[in-house]
């Protein structure tokens, strides 16, 4: 105890909640206040130059939803006219592969046998180049350019408040910003800055369009084109600006047609360019960030980035999506009609990827077969459940490490980390990672980074494999056993236990309590479309437990006879929010209303220091066909094959967030704790757990 206490004497800053970092030398505020007056009455914590680990949901929704109501008629045709452009782009990306361009015709991935064979043989020729773009040079950040993403998000947060001012002030203010940004561009421009500037201009254009009229657009267009000529642009960037201009023209035309809508305010422009708000934000923010950066506080910024977890990729940021698409191993067609609130999440057309990926099997020589197998399993849904996915991934990495040999001229520590990063990005493409897997990857990377340089390659590999074994054993398997022990003490004779979906820990608890001879009854609550509870039900019945099976629709009816609710979790966040299969929050809420204790069973490696207030900003979207279709019921299949209808959007969420007040207790391998103590576990044991 004393030893532990001694280590705590050092005052630590808790990174929990809305606490902002105390920066030794805060970024110069002067440039910020010069460019944009900050509203003094805004007491929101977003204003702080540092970003806290709190994920703040995108702010555009309310405004956009309102304007959506006002002028939906304009919005829909416009967005549809934008769509084909996107498809063009996809085709371009496809022909980026020199192997395909050799053929002289775009080879669609799921084409005939002959074609795919040809492409694979050509793939062998074009190996070098395709390898480069799939897993090559720039992967240290784990798939996409993390630093820029962070930068973007950061500016997004920052720019949110000041951004409101120019919008109200009208086009002039935006013009000013535009000039500022162009001047930064003329001064030495890095690539990121150039992009930010372009985005700024585009946003400014959108804004002026909203206010002024065609003339303003013209001016802006000229300005932006001259700017891009001055700055030496790459091919991709030139294409992007072209597209932006085209879009601007289209928008201008639409404006001419509907002057009434223009008079309505800035609303329509927001809809015309679907992610326009998102572009607006960096528009103002990026100039600030740019001047900040020149202010010379680069090192602390970088440090700060290190201990803040990278925000997820926002999939409504078109430029970034395109970029990541170019790097993508296989082609994932995006779903057409996505729900507005969830555009920042990836949603793909399901069904075609598997064949696509299979057809590329021989092309992907950079991919280790074990990782490939796991990826395909994720994609096909053969491996589900947080623990199973995590173990499968770690086992695959173990094989990777076993088969690994350091290429000449490289060091194991760096090369292996890069390799693992590329594999991780492949796995992310197959299915977004859960937070527990993120923790496991972090552990893996920290182990590699901490390898002593004196070790030989074989020793290092053995050590790493051993580490993975220990992680799986201690953090997952043994942790489950401990949780089961703890939880079984909370089961009394005559209890009625309710569980939702299928959690492997909860299943182990029920079976263990049954083995102990406790007399209890189980209520398995299930939901469409996954019906995970049925598998659980079958296994429980096989062991002779008495069960009740019902759907979540009936949960409020069944709850009055329940005495305990046991739930699993995909992750438990720092504010006690439980992130779990969609429907869990509903069950927990009903249980809370009936004063039934809710017990969350979750291994401590799934705890995450992030704070999340809702289930919007980070979630996973499933196949919309799953909810559109009712298998075996042709009479209610009227929604079938209508997933691409324009004014119909399907939302199939995979997770939801349960607020901590509905949770009575979290059972972890460190014992039974209230949800308020999650940050203590995260704080006290994260270091140890990275060290293991």
């Amino acid at each position: 105890m004393d030893a532990r206490r001694v280590s705590q004497v050092v005052p630590k800053v808790r990174q929990v909640g809305f606490v902002t970092h105390s920066d030794p030398n805060p970024p110069p505020q002067a440039s910020r206040t010069q460019s944009v007056p900050i509203e003094s009455n805004s007491g929101t914590p977003y204003d702080s130059p540092d970003f806290s680990p709190v994920m703040i949901p995108p702010p555009r929704h309310h405004s956009e939803n309102l304007s959506h109501l006002r002028s939906a008629a304009v919005a829909v045709p416009e967005s549809s006219s934008r769509r084909p452009m996107w498809d063009d782009r996809v085709a371009v990306v496809g022909s980026y592969n020199p192997g395909n361009s050799l053929l002289g015709q775009p080879v669609s991935p799921n084409s005939s046998e002959v074609n795919s064979e040809a492409s694979t043989t050509l793939g062998w020729f074009g190996r070098n180049s395709s390898g480069k773009f799939s897993a090559g040079s720039s992967f240290p950040g784990g798939g996409f350019d993390l630093t820029t993403v962070k930068m973007e998000n950061f500016t997004q947060l920052e720019g949110k408040k000041p951004e409101a001012v120019p919008e109200r002030g009208g086009g002039a203010a935006v013009e000013v910003h535009n000039e500022v940004s162009s001047s930064t561009a003329k001064a030495k421009t890095t690539k990121a800055e150039r992009r930010a500037m372009q985005e700024a201009q585009r946003a400014a254009k959108a804004a002026t369009k909203g206010k002024g009229g065609g003339g303003g657009v013209e001016v802006n267009n000229r300005e932006s084109s001259s700017n891009t000529l001055k700055a030496k642009t790459t091919k991709a960037e030139r294409r992007e600006t072209q597209e932006a201009q085209r879009a601007a023209k289209a928008a201008g035309k639409a404006q001419g047609n509907k002057p009434v809508a223009a008079a309505g305010g800035a609303g329509p422009s927001n809809i015309l360019r679907q992610p326009s708000q998102n572009r607006d934000d960096p528009a103002v923010g990026s100039t600030i960030a740019g001047s900040d950066r020149r202010g010379g506080d680069r090192p602390p910024e970088r440090e700060r980035k290190k201990d803040v977890p990278p925000p997820r990729m926002q999939f409504d940021d078109q430029g970034r999506v395109n970029k990541s698409k170019k790097r993508a191993v296989f082609n994932q067609p995006e779903a057409k009609n996505r729900v507005e609130l969830f555009r920042h999440l990836p949603q793909y057309e399901h069904g075609s990827q598997l064949t696509d990926l299979e057809s590329k099997f021989l092309e992907l020589d950079s991919m280790h077969p074990a990782v490939y197998k796991v990826g395909v399993q994720y994609l096909a849904g053969d491996v589900t459940g947080g623990n199973a996915r995590c173990i499968a991934m770690l086992r695959a990495f173990q094989e990777v490490i076993n088969d690994y040999s350091t290429p000449p001229g490289k060091t194991l520590v760096r090369d292996l980390t890069a390799k693992i990063s590329s594999y991780v990005s492949f796995l992310i493409e197959c299915r977004p990672l859960s937070m527990s897997m993120g923790n496991a990857i972090r552990f893996q990377k920290s182990r590699i980074a901490k390898l002593p340089l004196t070790l030989s390659e074989t020793e290092a590999k053995a050590a790493l494999c051993n580490d993975i074994d220990r992680f799986i054993n201690e953090k997952i398997i043994l942790a489950d056993k401990v949780i089961v022990r703890h939880a079984a003490t909370k089961v009394r004779d005559g209890d009625v236990l309710l569980t939702y979906g299928s959690s492997c820990v909860v299943e182990m608890i029920l079976l263990y309590a049954h083995e102990l001879g406790k007399q209890f009854r189980v209520v398995v609550v299930d939901s469409r479309p996954k019906h995970e509870g049925q598998a659980l039900l079958r296994r429980l019945l096989a062991k002779g437990l008495s069960c009740t099976y019902t759907h979540i629709n009936a949960v409020s009816y069944i709850m009055h006879e329940v005495t305990r609710v046991f739930l699993g979790a995909s992750s438990v966040l720092s504010n006690g929010t439980t992130y779990s299969r969609v429907g869990t929050a509903c069950v927990a809420m009903v249980a809370h209303a009936f004063r039934v204790p809710v017990l969350i069973c979750c291994e401590a490696y799934k705890f995450h220091e992030r704070v999340q207030l809702d289930s919007i900003c980070s979630n996973e979207l499933g196949d919309s066909n799953d909810i559109a279709r009712v298998p075996g019921r042709p009479d209610v299949n009227s929604m079938d094959n209508r997933t691409n209808e324009k004014n119909l959007q399907f939302l199939n969420l995979m997770y939801d967030a349960t607020p901590s007040e509905y949770v009575s207790m979290i059972i972890t391998d460190y014992g039974m704790i209230p949800p308020t103590s999650v940050p203590v576990i995260v704080r006290e044991y994260r270091r140890e757990y990275l060290l293991i």
């Binding site: 105890m1 004393d2 206490r5 909370k490 204790p597 207790m665 014992g671 704790i673 103590s677």
Partner: protein
């Protein structure tokens, strides 16, 4: 936990900190020859039986009625007849020294908390031990603390005290690089220090809570708690003007004793029957209760009736303050009222109860953390959720 304690508040007010030196005796008091009920089996599941914890409480500060004593006497003799033998086996059989006897001796000291008595008894185990190695001593201590714990499963502070001490013995790195004898003396020293801490803790808590008692306030107290008594005493000494409403505290009527003591201090006191709490709540400014144990959720386990007082106070937006020493923090997590082993206590209704009528004899209830405002402990003034943080840091 100990060096985190908020004892600085005592250092600032040196003049107040003189605690009675005579009460910190470190030799066990002579075993009393009175035929007090020894070794009542607490697991005897009858209406008439009484848990040992409440027996101690009754001896220390209950208002003992004659027929109640007779009942407990009767229960005890029956318990000795049936369950006495196995307890001797469970304890230190074949040895002249027994932890439980030692514990019982310590327990009789009126001002000594049960946890402290347990730790002193464990210290006596170390003193009397013939172990040659640390490991041996550890095993011996473990056995002793287990037998202590199983002797009275209903006492939370006893369990918590044993755990705390065992935790110190088994996990202290300070012991590792020393030879056996110095390690042993260090443990004994620690045990003695712990006793002092328990006296100090009450002072600290009393100091901390002074800021919360303002002139002209009305305080509702429930049951008799030594800590709450200390708080009110110090407030009276500080010439604060306040009024106390005491509940009667059935069935042991511990509220009567508190009212007596407060009347001696010239504090205006009003006695209520337990069912008048809601009636008087609108004139109450704060509720002060002690605790038998503070559990991991941040809730408390306390004398029956605390929960309903907390509920009433919560619904009327009155703050509920809990005064509890940190050695009462226990690694327990009850989910609801029936989730812990009941501590039974006979109830005297004054009239014969027909045998067909069942009597609820449970002596305490669990108050969930959302109904508590603050906990005054020797670690400082804590919100309920900090309890778990402290426990995690202590035990993990």
């Amino acid at each position: 936990m100990w060096h985190r304690s908020a004892s600085f508040i005592l250092d600032k007010n040196q003049n107040d900190t003189v605690y009675p030196a005579d009460s910190v005796t470190l030799t066990p008091p002579p075993p009393s020859s009175i035929s007090t009920p020894q070794n009542p089996n607490p697991n005897l599941n009858r209406n008439m039986s009484m848990s040992a914890y409440y027996q101690t409480r009754a001896a220390h500060h209950g208002v003992v009625t004659s027929d109640w004593l007779a009942q407990s006497q009767e229960a005890a003799t029956r318990a000795v007849a049936t369950g006495g033998q196995e307890i001797v086996d469970g304890g230190k059989s074949g040895r002249a020294f027994s932890v439980i006897d030692e514990f019982n001796n310590w327990r009789k000291q009126p001002d000594l908390a049960e946890a402290v008595a347990a730790i002193r008894a464990l210290a006596a185990v170390i003193r009397n031990s013939e172990a040659k190695t640390m490991m041996e001593l550890e095993i011996e201590l473990k056995k002793a603390s287990d037998s202590l714990k199983s002797w009275d499963t209903t006492s939370i502070s006893l369990t918590a005290g044993c755990d705390l001490f065992m935790r110190y013995v088994t996990r202290t790195s300070a012991l590792e690089y020393e030879d056996f004898n110095s390690a042993r003396s260090r443990l004994i020293e620690r045990a003695e220090k712990f006793g002092e801490i328990s006296y100090k803790a009450r002072k600290i808590i009393a100091m901390l809570s002074q800021d919360f008692i303002f002139d002209g306030c009305t305080i509702l107290v429930h049951g008799f708690s030594r800590v709450v008594m200390e708080v009110l005493k110090m407030a009276a000494q500080n010439k604060k003007l306040f009024r106390v409403l005491c509940t009667e505290g059935r069935p042991d009527r511990s509220g009567l004793r508190l009212a007596n003591e407060l009347a001696k201090l010239d504090v205006p006191v009003k006695l209520l029957i337990d069912s008048a709490v809601a009636y008087t709540m609108d004139e109450v400014d704060m509720v002060f209760v002690g605790a038998d144990g503070v559990v991991e959720s941040g809730g408390i386990i306390n004398m029956m009736g605390t929960y309903q007082i907390a509920l009433v106070a919560h619904s009327m937006n009155k703050p509920v303050y809990v005064a509890a020493e940190s050695y009462k923090f226990a690694r327990l997590y009850p989910l609801d009222q029936k989730d812990m082993g009941p501590a039974l206590r006979p109830i005297d209704f004054g009239v014969p109860i027909p045998s067909k009528v069942e009597v609820e004899t449970s002596a305490r209830d669990y108050t969930p953390p959302q109904y508590l405002t603050l906990l005054f402990t020797d670690l400082g003034v804590l919100t309920p959720s900090v309890v778990s943080d402290e426990l995690i840091q202590l035990y993990l």
